[in-house]
């Protein structure tokens, strides 16, 4: 993944709670075998509605999504993260997040900014009143701000996620450095091997 240090852009207020991954990217889209092109499916069931906030010309090109509590609950589909990023979002601000979604985001470089509900409301209000406001998410200093109004909050990321974002590290590469520890663990592992349980066609061997 690419390093992420500072995200600057306009923000869209979604004003919905419990936005689950089925709403972010409906299952119809999950049949694809590619990793790109999911932006067209983002919130697709809502985007038919001309009133839907992402359809407002004021918010076109925004890079930060501001949502209600429990954003990204539900299924494990990483497609939700791919869709948000493919659409152009680089950060999501909300009071809380689905656990797997948060994990998936960190693997792709989508920045998760968790703030108290009251702060999210303030930010929502600011960008509703003036959609042109520039919002800055600073991963290095763990800060989100609206420079024009002086509004500023800090947020937390676990230190490793922050490091990985800042450096654009690939998780698998990091783990592979521990090949010796993995091999040593396997010496004592009691995980039952499936080897010999099934034949080449997958039938149980008796």
């Amino acid at each position: 993944m690419k390093p992420v240090r500072v995200i600057e852009g306009r923000a869209v207020p979604l004003e919905r709670s419990d936005v689950d991954t089925d709403q972010i990217i409906p299952s119809d889209w999950l049949k694809r075998v590619e990793r790109t092109g999911f932006g067209r499916g983002l919130f697709s069931e809502w985007r038919d509605d001309p009133e839907f906030v992402l359809n407002q010309p004021n918010y076109v090109g925004a890079t930060i999504l501001v949502a209600g509590p429990r954003f990204g609950t539900g299924s494990s589909r990483e497609h939700a993260v791919w869709a948000l990023m493919d659409f152009g979002f680089q950060a999501v601000v909300a009071p809380s997040f689905g656990d797997i979604f948060r994990n998936n985001s960190s693997k792709q470089g989508l920045v998760i900014v968790e703030l108290p509900a009251a702060d999210v409301e303030q930010l929502t209000r600011l960008v509703k009143d003036d959609p042109s406001l520039l919002v800055v998410v600073d991963v290095d200093h763990l800060r989100v701000e609206v420079p024009e109004t002086g509004w500023q909050r800090t947020f937390t990321l676990d230190p490793m996620t922050r490091e990985r974002l800042l450096n654009g590290w690939d998780d698998i590469g990091l783990t592979m450095r521990r090949g010796a520890a993995i091999a040593a663990y396997e010496e004592t592992s009691v995980a039952p091997s499936l080897h010999g349980l099934f034949d080449a066609e997958g039938h149980v061997v008796h």
């Binding site: 049949k31 494990s76 990483e78 998936n104 039952p192 039938h203 149980v204």
Partner: protein, 468 residues
């Protein structure tokens, strides 16, 4: 040694490395793979010239997107077909055992693991699917992962993880007659809310949980994710051991006894301390139905649809309004008066043999209401075969239910089994999200017995209304 919870025991046995300032690296004993969340992971391996470290700890099945029409019918949707073919090709290339559509061992990934006996106590199990929590019923630490993590496990058989907090959810006393495993877990999700379990691994305890069969325990653990928890666990006991005995993946004879002795250690120590606790009285629980668009929006089958005015929290009031609108429901409506268009009996929550038996008892000798389309989708070919041997298929067919081939089917509507806009379903699956079962579809989650009774009556109904 200090007393430990079941979770802490499994975690402790799987630590590969715990480097300072980094997440712990844990070993994965079993990786289950399906067609939807894996193609991009296999691509990633190829791109980086990596292999699958332990194909012998990896098992694949086609489930999410397979049609449930007779096997002789081709997969018409070219995008679905392509994805199923990709799974075939990837498993061949990387040496992974695959159960493709129509295979005797094929089925929903969380149903086949346990029935083949490859899900065993004390293991760490992952799958690119959030309902991997199902396997926790065996005292295994099992959780869903995203595609990047699938790739990570394929390449290294490990995952960097933060240790979770532990929560004990205890249901005291025996469950009242007519209260199923599904009703227990709906009550738990309603109490915790969709975010209440976030950051925790839940261990389900208490008499009502211990009394459950393995099938019922899987139903409960399955929906842990609906409360935001990544995993659910139930301690190993005789019920667990008896279920495992004789399954293909399980050792035989003396080796079985040795394994069973080890498995029995996967219980929380008596004075182990949990980070959080929730206790419910089984006597307070009733047959339940979800009314809204998240699984915590639960009401008694005997109850009425709630009103936004019932909530003081503005956020909840808004969510309630939005849910009512989407669901096309008026506050105050008696649940039992609401007609349904479709009844779906299936999914990794409720498509095991016991679920089908519970539905068949209700369906036996009766007819599905003329206004209802009712489908029974067994969770796997093995479940289907057993049900047919018991004559359940004949009962369902005679009653006017469709008897279909195994797969996820209308649980998520990736295959042609979908709700049409505005259609209302009673579904034994686990998610009632907007559009989950098809665009504009309205889903109510229920137990298999209530689903069957609802199919007969054409509106939400309890088994005793039908059996009387």
């Amino acid at each position: 040694m200090a007393p430990r919870t079941l979770y802490e025991k499994i975690w402790g046995e799987h630590v590969v490395a715990s480097p300072e300032g980094e997440p712990t690296l844990i070993y994965i004993d079993l990786h289950l793979v399906h067609e939807v969340t894996s193609p991009q992971a296999f691509d990633g391996l190829r791109l980086n010239h990596r292999t699958v470290r332990r194909p012998d700890l990896t098992l694949a099945t086609a489930d999410h997107n397979v049609p449930t029409d007779p096997i002789s019918t081709p997969v018409h949707d070219p995008v679905s077909r392509r994805q199923l073919e990709a799974l075939d090709e990837n498993c061949k290339e990387f040496g992974i055992t695959l159960f493709p559509r129509g295979h005797e061992n094929q089925g929903i990934v969380h149903i086949i693991g346990p029935e083949l006996g490859v899900t065993q106590p004390g293991m760490t199990i992952v799958c690119g699917d959030s309902h991997t929590s199902t396997h926790g019923a065996f005292g295994a630490l099992a959780f869903g992962i995203g595609t990047s993590e699938v790739e990570h496990v394929l390449a290294t058989q490990t995952l960097p993880q933060q240790q979770a907090k532990t929560m004990a959810v205890t249901i005291e006393g025996p469950a009242p007659v007519g209260v199923s495993a599904k009703d227990l877990v709906l009550a738990i999700v309603a109490r915790l809310g969709t975010g209440g379990g976030a950051g925790y691994v839940i261990e389900y305890r208490g008499e009502a949980i211990r009394d459950l069969s393995m099938e019922g325990r899987m139903t409960v653990c399955n929906m842990s994710i609906e409360a935001g928890a990544r995993a659910g666990l139930i301690a190993v006991d005789d019920t667990t051991i008896d279920y495992l005995r004789g399954r293909p993946g399980v050792p035989e004879g003396e080796e079985f006894d040795e394994a069973a002795t080890r498995w029995r250690t996967f219980v929380s120590d008596d004075d182990a301390v949990f980070d959080a606790e929730l206790t419910l009285r089984a006597a307070d629980l009733v047959p339940s139905v979800t009314w809204g668009t998240n699984p915590a929006q639960v009401v008694a089958l005997d109850g009425i649809i709630p009103s936004p005015a019932d909530f003081t929290d503005p956020d909840q009031r808004n969510a309630t309004e939005r849910s009512l609108e989407y669901m096309g429901l008026e506050p105050g409506t008696a649940v039992r008066s609401i007609p349904v268009d479709v009844v779906f009996i299936g999914s990794c929550t409720n498509a095991r043999i016991e679920d089908l038996r519970a539905a068949a008892v209700v369906a036996n000798g009766r007819r599905v209401a003329g206004t209802v389309r009712a489908l029974v989708v067994p969770g796997s070919h093995r479940v289907k075969k057993q049900a047919e041997e018991e004559g359940l298929d004949a009962i369902f067919r005679a009653a006017g239910f469709e008897w279909r081939e195994p797969g996820c089917s209308m649980c998520l509507g990736m295959n042609p089994d979908q709700l049409k806009p505005g259609q209302r379903s009673a579904s034994t699956s686990n998610r009632n999200f907007e559009g989950r079962q098809g665009r504009g579809g309205r889903t109510h989650l229920v137990s298999p017995a209530i689903a069957a009774a609802t199919a007969i009556k054409g509106r939400f109904a309890s088994p005793d209304e039908v059996l009387a």
